[in-house]
Symmetry: C2
């Protein structure tokens, strides 16, 4: 159940009342604890006020076994039962970690996601993927488990820095490419401003984006086939993200990495599936303007290919598979691409970004 409503506190109180858990826990991270939690509590009644709060350290590098264990231990110590409820209040890291903790504590308790970032609203909070990183491998461990409810709002977005908003917008760009020409045009034109980011109008834009994702996920919850279309931009994107993290060469948000990944994969789509050249240029120009490049040289290709080869969506060890596009609205998942072609696409990417 996904609820789109800017009265988050009221929504949560109603949900808790209808689910009647014996205990309620709120998981936040240090960021949400500071910026979001007080706002949620301003108008809270006793159902939310009585909840126990667990706070973990912010940041994807803290989406790890140690913090997962901390959450398990907290729930255990505070007497959580199978009839308890966990509310994940935060970005993707909190939704992923908290969702996995809930999916596995006593083999599964109920949980609600309350995404506080645009990225989490359009991506991590719905779709049932939960998990943590294993050392430097992203989401290497996890479970498929749908939240019992998701409360999506735009009220917290005004607290976000610009790069964080644009990070979420990259996933919306991905959804739009998967949906078709019309959706893509509107995403390329209507970049949200600081002024309208918390508006009900933008909540509608977010809803349309989430609905594209959810309609895919419902047809293939455990990623056996179709769901892999949502991987668009992510095979190359994850490699950029991991590469930036490992080498410390630049700070790259998830969405920034995905935006660059989309460019590389549309270049591949152009090369291999005859994706329309003008549409490809339009997306690359958009990404150049709003995100900028990650600087790589051809000396980095082997490392990047190595990371791509490790992606859990690959059909077999060593093969690298992509979701590519025939045209906007026509994705083809599971296309195995030769290293040579990937290197050629990265050459073109560097050309187009002037690096």
């Amino acid at each position: 159940m996904i609820i789109y409503d800017n009265n988050v506190t009221g929504c949560l109180e109603q949900l808790i009342a209808s689910m009647s858990p014996d205990r309620v826990f709120i998981l936040t991270d240090t960021n949400s604890q500071w910026f979001v939690y007080p706002r949620l509590m301003e108008s809270a009644g006793s159902l939310l006020r009585d909840a126990k709060t667990i706070t973990v350290k912010s940041g994807d590098m803290n989406k790890n076994i140690d913090q997962l264990t901390d959450v398990w231990r907290y729930l255990c110590r505070e007497g959580a039962t199978r009839n308890s409820l966990l509310i994940n209040l935060g970005g993707g890291m909190v939704c992923d970690l908290g969702g996995f903790a809930a999916a596995t504590f006593k083999r599964g308790i109920r949980f609600i996601n309350v995404p506080t970032t645009l990225l989490a609203a359009v991506d991590a909070s719905s779709g049932g993927k939960t998990g943590i990183n294993l050392d430097s491998y992203k989401n290497e461990v996890g479970a498929f488990r749908n939240p019992d409810a998701v409360v999506i709002s735009t009220v917290f977005f005004s607290t976000l820095p610009d790069y964080e908003l644009m990070s979420g917008y990259a996933e919306m760009l991905k959804h739009a490419i998967l949906e078709g020409d019309e959706a893509l045009n509107s995403i390329l034109e209507d970049v949200p401003s600081k002024e309208n980011i918390s508006s009900d109008g933008f909540l509608e834009v977010v809803r349309r984006s989430v609905e594209i994702k959810v309609s895919v996920v419902e047809q293939d919850p455990c990623e056996k086939g179709l769901r892999r279309v949502l991987n668009l931009g992510h095979t190359a994107g994850h490699a950029f993200e991991t590469f930036a993290l490992k080498t410390g060469r630049a700070f790259l948000s998830h969405g920034h990495a995905v935006a660059l990944g989309i460019c590389v994969e549309l270049i591949l789509s152009r090369m291999l599936l005859d994706f329309d050249s003008e549409r490809m240029y339009a997306v690359v120009e958009f990404v150049k303007e709003h995100y900028g490049p990650l600087h790589i040289t051809c000396d980095d290709y082997q490392v990047l290919l190595g990371i791509m080869g490790h992606d859990k969506k690959n059909p077999s060890a060593g093969q690298i598979s992509f979701t590519l596009m025939k045209s906007p609205g026509n994705p083809l998942p599971g296309i195995i691409v030769d290293s040579k072609d990937i290197e050629a696409a990265m050459d073109i990417y560097r050309d187009m970004f002037g690096i």
Copy 2:
């Protein structure tokens, strides 16, 4: 799919051939590595010989986060993909830990359980419960996930010490009580001897016991209701087991604890549901003869009640629920019992065991 076959190596080779994984991993513990693994490999062909082996430390106290993390890291390092296969070769600890590792690595890879103990054969290896202990709390974290296959045999049982065999037999006693009078009589009379434990005849007895469990689990895989009948003997049994571990008062195998738990819970069934007195005495006498008591005094009741109150099958914090029997074959799950009645039953238990 559960296969009953004493040609384990042949079975596994066939399964691997039909599942065609890109990589095969075998998880063992230090015990199975020593006693079982060489036997399995004696007649193995290349499909099994090429498998990579992960060995973890034996013992339920090692069914923990650290060893789980070791398994995840090993799979990650050795390039396991979603198309890889994990074979859990060992007792309940290996099946539980390996099953959970497989259920969560890359959000789920395939796995086969090959139970090497009687207890694992009749209990942990089928039914889809996987998990690890959290500090001193047993199976506090885990997932419901069915193995892709289970290969049950009796060939490894001759390597087991007597207490380990009787530990498994306690779960068979439980299944028999759930099934009815006839099954119960045959379990009370046909205790296996060292001579026939590895026979095809005993494999048939094991099969009947597993089938009782599986027929319950199929009706309620995620333990929302009916499955809780399998909890017979376990509310009190887990408390005895945890108590013995915490206080170091005695070594108590899981099955021994369950056998004592069955006694306490049949006493409660007699008190609250008019369970036949003669049948109750017959079971208690059997447990006295083959297992013996755990020494407790009334000073220990509060600790035991505290542990029972923490059981994840309780409907809500603080309430203690049991599966009780109206008669053999007629279980009633989820009976909430007052502390006073539990204390009275423990008094009677101490009387009957003469402690």
